[in-house]
């Protein structure tokens, strides 16, 4: 009696064969290719019946090829023994129905061939799926890195962007990538134009182009602030060096004026006076907004703290805390408004050529900050 136990693996059946004595002249191998439910006990009974009817090998049952049994290498030894043993017996005994046997063998070969093809197809499908999975994982990693490290190359100091995916922020990050590319292009164009000493009229076009480009980023930031104000406040899309100088989600206008001042010399006396006044106004406006922010932090902290101790009023406190966060959006907008007004006032005070040099210096300054961030994060680190 030969017992069969099988385990369904995908489309193919892995048949475990254990012989416990070889009384019978024939062994039946059953392959249940498309069966979704495999009942080992049932199979054994069937074969037992087939056995009793004088080894009547049903031609409709496809026979398993040696190659298929090798699919599971742990049983291949047993299987091949079984098959070899059996086919040997076939040749010796059944001389009379030679055609029948030949036909059966042919069918066997055919089934085996088909089975091999099916197995090949299945394995190929597995391989391509595995490849696709690897590609998807790589892409996911890349986009995650881009989301965290936008504009600055690999920077392991960035904080992880926790929480559900915010479509407004994802859109902003993509747009920011394009914005930086366009910014770099405009900077190169301006540099070449100034070196080539082009006329004032053409220079004005470039200057206005750069000014409009800055207006664009402030529009984008305003929309992003509505999506996630904390993201904008923390300057998450910027590189580490840029974030070091962060003030309410961007650069501090008065600081920038101090940096750019020496680069736009020579200035007339009136210009010098106007620039000084501008610097003073910026400083005063920044101080005012900073004081407003301090008050906001204080009231927000009070709102959050009050909720913990007084039972029953926790939820209303959270509502007032949420209101404070709306105020945060207005501060981000005012800060951006101040930056934009400062740039525009600069362009009013300066001549076209001076404005062009000023905008070029501004753009290059931020390029260098980004480069610094990149250099810093890629510096060779000493082993711990």
């Amino acid at each position: 009696m030969v017992c069969y136990r099988g385990v369904l693996k995908g489309d193919l059946l892995d048949v475990r064969i254990s012989s416990s004595g070889m009384n019978s002249p024939s062994a039946q191998f059953v392959s249940s290719r498309r069966m979704s439910v495999y009942d080992p006990i049932h199979q054994i009974n069937m074969w037992g019946e087939g056995f009793k009817s004088n080894g009547n090998l049903s031609a409709s049952l496809p026979l398993i090829d040696e190659a298929d049994l090798k699919f599971d290498s742990s049983q291949s030894e047993d299987a091949s023994h079984g098959i070899l043993g059996t086919s040997h017996k076939y040749d010796q005994e059944a001389n009379r129905p030679i055609d029948k046997i030949q036909r059966r063998l042919a069918q066997n070969r055919e089934a085996a061939r088909k089975s091999r093809l099916r197995k090949k197809a299945y394995v190929q499908q597995l391989e391509s799926s595995r490849l696709k999975l690897m590609q998807l994982e790589q892409e996911l990693e890349r986009t995650r890195q881009q989301g965290m490290y936008m504009g600055g190359g690999l920077d392991s100091n960035n904080m992880c962007f926790a929480g559900p995916v915010n479509s407004g922020i994802t859109a902003f990050e993509m747009e920011y990538g394009h914005w930086v590319d366009e910014q770099n292009r405009q900077i190169s164009e301006m540099r070449n134009a100034l070196n080539a000493h082009i006329g004032d009229i053409e220079l004005r076009i470039l200057v206005e182009g750069m000014m409009n480009h800055y207006a664009e980023i402030y529009r984008m930031k305003s929309a992003a602030a509505k999506a996630d104000v904390f993201y904008v406040m923390s300057g998450m899309w910027k590189t580490t060096a840029e974030r070091f100088f962060l003030w309410i989600g961007g650069f501090r206008p008065s600081e920038l004026l101090k940096i750019l001042g020496p680069m736009i010399e020579p200035l007339t006396e009136q210009q010098r006076l106007d620039i000084d006044n501008l610097g003073q106004s910026c400083q005063q406006a920044e101080d005012a907004l900073s004081q407003g922010m301090d008050k906001l932090r204080q009231t927000l902290a009070d709102s959050v703290a009050a909720g913990q101790f007084i039972e029953g009023t926790y939820i209303p406190q959270m509502a007032s805390a949420m209101e404070k966060l709306d105020a945060l959006v207005s501060f981000v907008n005012q800060a951006d408004h101040l930056r934009q007004e400062t740039l525009q006032q600069m362009s009013r005070i300066l001549t076209i050529r001076q404005s062009a040099r000023c905008l070029l210096a501004l753009g290059e300054y931020f390029q260098r900050l980004r480069a610094l961030s990149s250099l810093w994060s890629n510096r060779p680190r000493e082993p711990a």
């Binding site: 005063q284 907004l289 005012q334 101040l338």
Partner: protein
Amino acid sequence: MNQESVMHYQVDPWNYYMMRVRRRRMEEEDEMERVMRIVSESAVVIFSSSSCCMCHAMKSLFCGMGVNTMVHELDQDSKGKQMEKTLMRLLATNSTTLPVVFIGGKLVGSMDTLLAFHVNGSLVPLLKQAGALWL
């Protein structure tokens, strides 16, 4: 009596409606007059709310420039809500607008207008003209 008033309503619906409109218009004019009266009393008048942080920023700005301001906290005024509505109408906006500042009795606007004026250098002359700032 009941029937009379009912009849009155049924007979003069248009007049009834116009009466209500007129009353509301008068109230609005009163409010506007009240605002105008308040803003003419000082060189710089800020309509604010004690809990609003942007209002605090505006007060700090004038303070930092050495300008004395009269602050009207609308959340502590019994007619604060109506005044806020009047201001919204003046600024032609539907969203809450505080803080709002008047200089020399004339409307300047919200924080962004004020910052724009300060950055482009027109705030200081305006303050001097209103007598809020001396050299």
